[in-house]
Each structure stands twice: as C-alpha cells, then as structure tokens.
Amino acid sequence: MTEISVVSLKIDGVQVSVPEGTTILKAAKDNGILIPTLCDLEGLTPYGGCRLCLVEVTGSPKLFTACTTQVNPGMEVTTNSVRLKNYRKMAVQLLMSERVHMCAVCVANDHCELQALANQLGVDHVSFERHFTRETIDSSHDFLVIDRNRCILCTRCIRVCDKIEGVHTLDLKQRSKDTEVIMDLDESWGDSCSCTGCRKCAKVCPVGAIYIEGESATQTKHRDVAEFITERRKRK
C-alpha cells in the first residue's frame, strides 16, 4: 500500500493537515473553511479563471488562486482579509459589467452562483461601466440553449464535456472580452455531431447561460454531477 504523505499548514490561523498535492481550496473546504469560487468544481480540472478564490500566503506579496495552488508544509494562508474581500467584490463587479446580467428575467434567478456570491459579498452596485454587449443565443438544439449574454466564461461546461462526458463538444473561441463558448468548429448546437445531449453542461453552469428549454433551474441544476460521476468511476 502506497503511503500518503501529509502536509501541515495553517489556514486562517487554524493548524490543518492534508494529503500532499491537495489544493488550498480543497484543504480549506475539508476543514470547514469556504473560499468563494465560480469556476472550480470538484471532479473537474482546476482552471483558475474567476479569480474569486484568491488567498494571501504569508511571506509572498502576490495573491494565489486557491484552486490551482497546492499546499506546502508550513504554509500560512489567509482566506478572508479586508483586502481579499475588496478584490472579490471587484471581481464580481467586473463579471457583471461585461455582457448582460438581468437577474429578474433569468432562468437561474435564485439558483445562480454569481447572484448568490454578489449577495454574500454585499455587491449592491457595479462601479465599472456596464457594456451590455449583445451576444448570440443559440437555441437550435432540441432542448439545450446557450445564452452567451449571461456567460461568465468559467469553462465549467467545457471541462465537464471533456473530462466527464469525454466528447469535448464545447470549447472557447476568440480572446479577452470577445471570448465565446462554441460547439465543435463553431457550429450551431443543433448541427453539432459530437454533442450527446447529456445535459451536464446545463447542470454545472453556475449562472443561467446554459439551460434546458422549458425546465426550471431547480430541475436542471445539479452541480455535484462531476464529483458524483468521478466517485462512482473510482468504485470500479
């Protein structure tokens, strides 16, 4: 039996021990400390895109994304300082300033991670200019719809499609603010030959960007699907 080495570190002043190779985010979560994130999901490859899980590590002037940084022995991590809270608020506001986020008429209203986080962080306004760009909506699929106006580019859909379903229908095109989630070689979803219609992308979407037509978010959202399937696969 392989021996697992254990790493000891301090998170918010609390001494914790976790297996080597664990990310700060997971180490914190396993010890009851929740660090906010919009792109990370257990069962999927860490991405580090939303910048909400930024933490401070004593001795380093820079901030680290907790989802992509592995623990080190003797590390002292701070997850909740005034500076971090301000950065997180700013990150949420930047997400909201891009594209169109109108909770009242969104399918994910009350079931949206961005909305919940904004409430939790006390984001009651957006300090940056809002762009209200007009992105395309693709509802050519029989039941799956992508409304790119609401997309925050967390890539959960792409990673769940690649890693869990194994087909990699979804991917990104363009860069920066023009980045878009596309299907196959930028085809309409209804014409995609690789999409199996498994719905996992809609289940893990943190906002209302991918949804199932005619279904409420309560029925659709099942955000631990990747973790669930990964665990089931380990049993074999």
């Binding site: 009242a104 008429v105 209203n109 007009r134 909506i137 693709d138 509802s139 050519s140 029989d142 719809v145 409304d147 037509e213 005619g214 409420s216």
Partner: protein
C-alpha cells in the same frame, strides 16, 4: 423641471397665448404631464396629455427567446404584471401552436381574476376615492390615501383587505404576488393548484364579496352628488373595444375582440387574434411617447375608441354571474343610446361591477373540481413563426404580437398596452373638463384637480410607478404671449 416643460413644448404651442402645465399628474400609475393651452381671452383652447416615460420594450426584446417574453414584458408594469404575463403567454401559445389543458386555462383565468380585483381595489380605494369622498375642491394635503385612513379608517381597511385578497389569489396560484412569470409557460402552467391553497382562497371569498357589495352600494349612493362631473367628465361619443366570450358576455382572458359604436351597434368583431391589425391602427404624435391607436375603418383621429371597464361593460351583453348581472342591468339604464354609457366618470362604477364579477368568477372557478387537476401543460416547440395574445387587463385590451425565427428568437415585437388605446380619448376628455372648469384668470387648485381626476377615472397605467404617496408635486405655470413665465404655483 421648468426647462423640461418648455423643451417639451412643440412649436405649434407657441401660437397660443398662455399655457398651463400640470406636471406631474399625480395619483396615477406612471409619469405624465398635462398642458392646457389658452386662447387670448383666457378661455381653454385645447388640452394635451403628454406621457414622459420611455421604456423601449419592443426593441430590446429582439433576439430574446420567445418563452422569456412573459417574464420580460411583465416588467413593464408592477400593477398588472399578470395581464402582461397572460397576453405574452397566449402569444407564445400561438407560436408553439398548442391548446393548453382546460385546467391550465382555468388557473390562468383565476390568476387574472386576482389581478383585476387587486388593481381595481388599488384604483378605487387608494387613488380615486380621496376625490370622491373629500370632494374635488378639498384641501390637497388631506385628499390622499393618508387623509382617507384618517377620516374613513374602516373604508381604508376594506380597501387594503380587498387588494390583499386579489394579491393572495395571484400568490397562491402562481407562487408570487408580483411578477409571477416563472409559473406560466407556453402551452400551460408549471404547477397545479393544491387543495390547501384552493381551500384557503375559498375561505377568504365571503369577506371579499361583502366588501365589493358594500363599496358598490356606497358608490351608488354618492353618485347623485356628482351629476356635474358625470355630465362633463369625458362625456362624449366614441367607439368601444373589448373582449367578449362566445355568448357575447363579459370576458377578460380570451374571446372575440368586439368593437361597437356610440349607439351600441357592433361595427367589427375579430375572432382571429392574428388579424387584429385589420381593425386597429397606430398613429404617432411628436409631443408624447404614447402612441394613438384608432379603429382603422373610421380613420385617425375619428376612430377614437375607449377600452377598460366602461368599454367592456358597453360591448358585453351580460356579465354571466348573478350579482354582477343584476348590477349590470342597473348600470345599463344610465346609457342613452342602446345602453351605451358614455361618461368617463362611470369608469369608477364599471370598475366596481367588474370587481364583483371577478369575485363571483373566482368562486365559480374554485368550486369546479377540475381546477385541482394535475394535467396543466401541453408540451411543444416552435411550430409557428408568429403569435398574438390578447387579454383584457384591468385597464383594457392588451395585445402582444411577436414574430420569431426558426430557433424561437424574437425578431419583431409589437405591444399595444391598454392605456394606449384610450390615448385619443384622454385628450378629448381633458379638453372637455378643462373647458368646463379651468378659468385662467383665477386659477384654483380644485379646477386643475378635476383635469387630473378625469385621467384618474380612466386609471391609466403609464409604467409601474404609483404616485399615491407623498406630497402633491403639481406645478402650475402661466406664460404670457412672449413666453415669459408670469405666474407659478407649486402645491
């Protein structure tokens, strides 16, 4: 605000010697101003109703999926979101091309009854009753809902209770009191009504019915003291438009769109909602953001028609519930030509009869065991590229017309809101009232209040705001023939 008024003035206004501006018009839903234009001898020449809101729903919904329309368009109004939800959903029913199950239709109708009850209660008790109970010339500091609570606490409580009952119907049926768009979907509704909720609503019915009956009898007793207003409050011939059911009875959810003339003759009946444009045209004027719909056959502006409670009772042959029918027969006696009641003042009367009708209909719907069926949706996808939904909102006929592409994304949207239909009539009515009551040499608050009150009688819903609370913000300005401000009164 002053500059704004002058900028709003069209160049045509300059030929008039003086202008009185009422801005904003208070105790209505939305933002508007009234300009009263005077001749050289200080007599009233014309009055104009200017809507200063701009919303833009028809444009910014382009590109959105059709099934989002009930949620988006209902945001145009916080008073009658249910009517928008229903007109939008019916347009979506047309796009998917399915017939919703009977229970879904009953539930939608039930929700609509709740909407009309609460909206009518809001208009009568909160907005209009201060004028009726205290008099048009009374102290404006008292002539509002707080004055009402002070002087007639029992009546105020009844108003609140009746409005609450209406809102509770919407909440119990659709989950939320306001903007309950999550519940509806093209082809039906998302969840059925539970027995507990139906029982709860039934338990509240007797009290609501009692309040409606009492209010109606109180109003009828007061009517004699308003003979002057009845005669002069927008009392003019016009066409009337409203939905009727297959038997020609009062209808709010679905049916034939009927237009009658001022003598009660049916001049048009539209059975296919998609063909509404054969009957209704829309004109625009540069001074207001509100369009001027007109009856196409008669042309603009001769084709002025009215919608809303008064129009609905004028076009219908009966109500269809016992108590409301009794009141309906009495109401019709006020009509001169073939039972057509012309005075805008009687919108109040018609509103109270409708409230009674809605409570009785609620009772009828709740007593039908089929209301509890769990078959509430017919599923389908985009089958038609065009859909029209017509419903009777509390303030009148509401039309939603959508066109979609092959993926169901909106490519074109036309909404005709109930309040718009009455636009030509507003201008006629305020001109009539201003001519009768406004004497420019000796401006008095009560004169101008009457001009506002005729607008209130129509119960316009210019957006989702209610101005029933707070200080009256009426500004009256007098200009001389060089456009110089010579008098300004703020109350």
């Amino acid at each position: 605000m002053d500059n704004n008024n002058e900028n709003n003035s069209s160049s045509n206004d300059k030929v008039f010697e003086k202008k009185i501006v009422i801005n904003p018009v208070t105790r209505i839903e939305g933002h508007a101003q009234i300009d009263i234009l005077l001749n050289q001898d200080n007599t009233v020449r014309e009055a104009k109703f200017k809507v200063t809101d701009f919303r833009g729903f028809e444009k910014f919904t382009e590109g959105r999926p059709y099934y989002e329309m009930p949620a988006i368009t209902s945001r145009s109004c916080g008073i009658c979101p249910v009517s928008h939800i229903l007109a939008a959903t019916k347009a979506c029913d047309g796009i998917v091309g399915v017939k919703p199950p009977k229970t879904a239709v009953m539930l939608r109708r039930l929700m609509h009854m709740g909407q009309i009850i609460q909206s009518h209660a809001l208009n009568f008790f909160h907005l209009s009753s201060p004028d009726l109970l205290f008099g048009f010339d009374s102290d404006p500091a008292k002539r509002n809902v707080f004055g009402l609570i002070d002087a007639y606490p029992d009546l105020a409580v009844q108003g609140v209770k009746l409005r609450r009952f209406g809102q509770e119907i919407v909440e119990k049926v659709a989950g939320r009191r306001v903007h309950s768009s999550e519940w509806v979907q093209p082809g039906g509704v998302r969840w059925p009504l539970s027995r507990e909720r139906a029982d709860y609503l039934q338990s509240k019915l007797p009290e609501a019915l009692e309040i409606a009956k009492n209010t109606l009898s109180m109003f009828k007793q007061m009517l004699n003291s308003f003979n002057d207003e009845v005669e002069n409050f927008g009392n003019f011939p016009s066409y009337y438009m409203g939905l009727v059911n297959s038997e020609g009875g009062l209808e709010h959810y679905d049916g034939k769109l009927r237009i009658i003339d001022n003598e009660g003759r049916m001049v048009a009946e539209c059975t296919d909602p998609l063909k509404y444009q054969e009957y209704v045209g829309e004109a625009v004027e540069p001074y207001t953001f509100m369009k001027f719909p007109y009856f196409k056959k008669a042309g603009y502006p001769e084709g002025a028609y009215r919608v809303g409670p008064l129009a609905r009772l004028n076009v219908a042959s009966h109500c269809g519930t016992p108590l409301a029918d009794e009141e309906f027969r009495e109401f019709k006696k006020l009509g001169k030509n073939g039972g057509v009641v012309e005075s805008t003042f009687h919108y109040h009367y018609a509103r109270l009869i409708e409230t009674l009708f809605c409570i009785e209909t609620t009772k009828k719907l709740l007593e039908d065991p089929e209301i509890l069926s769990e078959h509430v949706v017919s599923r389908a996808m985009v089958n038609n590229y065009e859909g029209v939904g017509i419903a009777e909102a509390p303030r009148g006929t509401l039309i939603h017309h959508y066109k979609v592409d092959n993926q169901g994304r909106i490519t074109w949207n036309n909404m005709i809101i109930a309040t718009e239909h009455n636009n030509i009539a507003y201008n006629k009515a305020i001109t009539q009232v201003a001519k009768k009551y406004v004497k420019a040499q000796q401006l008095q608050e009560g004169m101008l209040n009457r001009v506002e009150a005729v607008i209130r009688a129509f119960d316009p819903c210019l957006s989702c705001a209610t101005h029933a609370v707070g200080q009256m913000a009426l500004i009256i300005k007098l200009f001389d023939n060089k456009g110089t401000l010579i008098d300004r009164q703020v109350r």
